[in-house]
């Protein structure tokens, strides 16, 4: 799977320190510049620049006809984006918060995911749905959900999540260039974490996972906001002399499990980490595939550290609900105990 050939953006190149939020903004800007068919649509994405300011300045620079403040209706956002895509546009929809994607669910499942299939390839759906997701920000209800597994279950959708500024910048542009619908999950609690972004280095393909930290004792795989947590856990463990390998999954559907299989064949142990509840989820799928592919390599069952099978709790309780460094290491210990 080759990385799509993205023209180099005309906007800032070279190395700079940016946040995930800024990298997403830069990625959107580069896409708007590269292709006049790219549109941004959503609630408050215009003058306000989105509630997280990811679209900051874009309406001012590209105009109201490229960056659209839409009526307050998510089915409307997705449903009209589909029509615009049929017309040849490449809409990038912002869903304000994870919990508000559900009014648009029907258009996503019934039309967006299926149109390419049912038209036998005659109708393409190059639509990106950006979803700031996950908890840890002390928010009220419906603002901390992790619904990615629902979309991973649906054929015809591609589901990805970035965990750092470099991926944020590249994966978003790649998603926009992709001719398939992409659900793009952004770890909102990490929006303001920084890293070096060198726009001159070739990106990985969109639908690929990568080893974020090499190690030999236990494989830990995560995505989005939990990658940072796992890297922190690995750093802490290494002080105890325990060498964890961390895989950043990046693609949640279709999954790219090659690096996970390869890692598990070396370590014999896998711990999966997600904010989302475990039940019938992406982590269930990975565990299932790993026990199939690495049956003879596993020295312990695949274990998970995830949100509990409850609704997202009031925010004063979220620290307990969300896996943290300690819970990850606790499950690592349990894996090692086999």
């Amino acid at each position: 799977m080759a990385a799509p050939a993205l023209e180099r953006p005309t906007t800032p190149s070279g190395t700079q320190t940016v946040t995930i939020a800024k990298a997403l903004n830069m990625g959107l800007r580069a896409s708007l510049e590269r292709d006049p068919k790219v549109l941004i649509m959503g609630e408050d994405v215009g003058k306000l620049g989105g509630v997280f300011r990811i679209t900051d300045g874009l309406q001012k620079d590209f105009g109201e006809h490229r960056v659209l403040d839409t009526p307050l209706a998510e089915s409307g956002i997705i449903g009209t984006a589909i029509g615009l895509a049929i017309r040849g546009y490449r809409p990038v929809c912002e869903i304000q918060f994870d919990g508000f994607i559900f009014p648009g669910f029907d258009q996503i499942i019934s039309q967006l995911a299926k149109l390419h299939y049912r038209s036998q390839g005659k109708v393409k759906m190059p639509i990106v749905i950006r979803v700031p997701y996950g908890g840890g920000i002390g928010a009220v209800e419906h603002h901390s959900e992790s619904p990615e597994s629902l979309f991973a279950h649906i054929a015809g959708l591609k589901v990805v999540s970035c965990s750092n500024p470099v991926d944020a910048y590249w994966m978003l542009q790649q998603a926009i260039e992709c001719d398939d619908p992409v659900l793009f999950f952004e770890p909102k609690r990490r929006y303001y974490e920084k890293a070096e972004l060198d726009t001159s280095i070739d990106p990985l393909p969109l639908l690929s996972s990568r080893v974020a930290r090499s190690g030999s004792a236990v494989t830990v795989a995560a995505y989005g906001p939990m990658v940072r947590t796992c890297l922190d856990a690995a750093a802490a463990a290494s002080e105890d002399g325990l060498d964890l390998e961390v895989v950043d999954l990046r693609a949640l559907s279709p999954l790219d499990l090659g690096p996970v299989f390869e890692s598990v064949r070396r370590t014999g142990r896998l711990v999966l980490v997600s904010e989302a509840p475990a039940e019938s989820s992406v982590t269930s799928e990975i565990a299932t595939r790993v026990q199939q592919e690495c049956f003879y390599s596993l020295e312990a069952p695949v274990l998970r550290a995830t949100g509990f099978d409850t609704p997202y709790p009031p925010s004063k309780l979220e620290e307990g609900f969300l896996p943290d460094l300690d819970r990850v290491l606790d499950v690592v210990d349990r894996s090692l105990a086999y």
């Binding site: 984006a81 029509g83 615009l84 895509a85 258009q107 039309q111 390419h116 299939y117 049912r118 390839g121």
Partner: protein, 408 residues
């Protein structure tokens, strides 16, 4: 608890308070609602009609149309051919050739009028019953067969035909059409008489769906050149119109700030005239427009349905008198615009179409198994490629088998 407690006000209606604004008088009784919606099968005072059920041409102060005898004959031909294909579809289902058929019987005038009002540059988004619109867009009826036989989901190219695929999830297409129309506007194709427009088709039942509302909100806010063409055929499967609304559906438009017009959906001239006008409004940048075509579903909802369970045949009989084809036929005769030879030639053409349609159906190829995996994505995933290969080699295993009648 008696049903009256909620289906109509209990006992005497409360005395009308005279100190209240007239507009907010006590709600109508259930009977009044039904009467207002349907009992006048004429569609009420606001109905736009150019051809009476008796085939008489009448004038309308706002909507009229200049039309040549030749055009009239073409419309007649369209309707006869479309009906014939429809009846063959029904018959093929009965013969087990199709899994299901969705009849348009009775709605020919609404659909042909609307379909013929569309220009090549326009786009149409159908629901699942728009065989007449498909015809007007140049899609051969045989291209519909795959859907109902289960070989595909529609074989035409939506882009080149200007006719989107059928949409079954009620209401979805209204938003898709609105987005497409937004694109027409963004492309600068709106604002002059040669501009582009979009027309979207949906039923009376569909008007209850949130998506249809959102489409109306969006199209009003973005001045989208979209004509909402609602075929009110009085029924949503077994549910009569009063399960969806208290007031005639065209009135919904006033709540969104754009025109709503009720047209006689069994009058192909009126349907054509109003559709043309509405599309031109959209071209000129004055969209959207809502059209309610007041018509009747003469057959079952689909071949799986049994309408005798929920509606009276006398209703159907009353509507037969308003048959869209018969009224144009009478008109053509009355105006000496067509002779017997013409009618015979159309019938002959219908026979040919029917035969070709049936023949096509009988010889349709089954899709190959690998089609299950085709076009899930524009850029295929290795995961799916692997599933396909595995499945095909599993199938190949059967071909190799020599044991007959065995389980494996």
């Amino acid at each position: 608890m008696s049903p009256e407690q909620w289906t109509s006000s209990s006992g005497e209606p409360p005395a009308k308070r005279t100190d209240l604004p007239a507009a907010t008088a006590a709600k109508p009784t259930r009977e009044q609602v039904i009467a207002g919606l349907r009992a006048t099968s004429e569609g009420g005072a606001d109905l736009v009609q150019l051809l009476t059920p008796e085939g008489q041409r009448v004038q309308h102060p706002d909507f009229d149309i200049d039309i040549s005898p030749e055009q009239l004959r073409d419309l007649y031909r369209d309707m006869v051919l479309v009906r014939r294909a429809d009846r063959e579809g029904n018959a093929l289902q009965r013969q087990g050739q199709l899994g299901i058929w969705v009849p348009l019987l009775g709605q020919e005038a609404a659909q042909i009028g609307a379909g013929r009002a569309l220009k090549p540059q326009d786009m149409a988004f159908p629901s699942y019953r728009e065989h007449g619109v498909a015809w007007a867009r140049g899609i051969d009826p045989t291209e519909l067969l795959g859907i109902f036989r289960g070989t595909d989901h529609g074989s035409w190219d939506p882009t080149s035909t200007g006719f989107h695929l059928y949409t079954i999830v009620i209401g979805n297409q209204c938003l898709n059409a609105t987005g497409y129309a937004m694109g027409q506007r963004f492309d600068g194709k709106v604002g002059d008489p040669d501009g582009e427009a979009t027309m979207v088709f949906f039923g009376d039942g569909a008007t209850s769906q949130g998506d249809v509302h959102e489409a109306m909100v969006w199209s009003a806010v973005y001045d989208s050149p979209v004509v909402f063409f609602c075929q009110n055929n009085q029924w949503a499967i077994s549910e009569p119109l009063e399960r969806q609304t208290r007031v005639p559906l065209y009135q919904r438009a006033s709540g969104y700030g754009f025109p709503g017009i009720r047209v006689d959906g069994n009058d192909v001239l009126a349907s054509l005239a109003v559709s043309k006008w509405a599309l031109d409004e959209c071209r000129n940048g004055n969209g959207p427009v809502l059209i309610e075509a007041f018509t009747y579903r003469m057959d079952a909802h689909t071949t799986s349905d049994d309408p005798t369970r929920y509606r009276m045949t006398d209703e159907q009989e009353a509507w037969k008198l308003k048959d869209p084809i018969e009224r144009l036929r009478v008109h053509l005769i009355r105006e000496h615009a067509a002779d017997q030879e013409f009618f015979d030639s159309v019938d002959a053409e219908a026979d040919q179409l029917a035969e070709r349609f049936r023949e096509f159906c009988f010889t349709m190829q089954e899709p190959p198994p690998e089609r299950i995996f085709s076009n899930v994505y524009a850029e295929e995933s290795p995961q799916l490629a692997a599933q396909r290969e595995e499945y095909l080699s599993y199938l190949a295993g059967f071909a190799d088998e020599t044991v007959a009648g065995g389980v494996r």
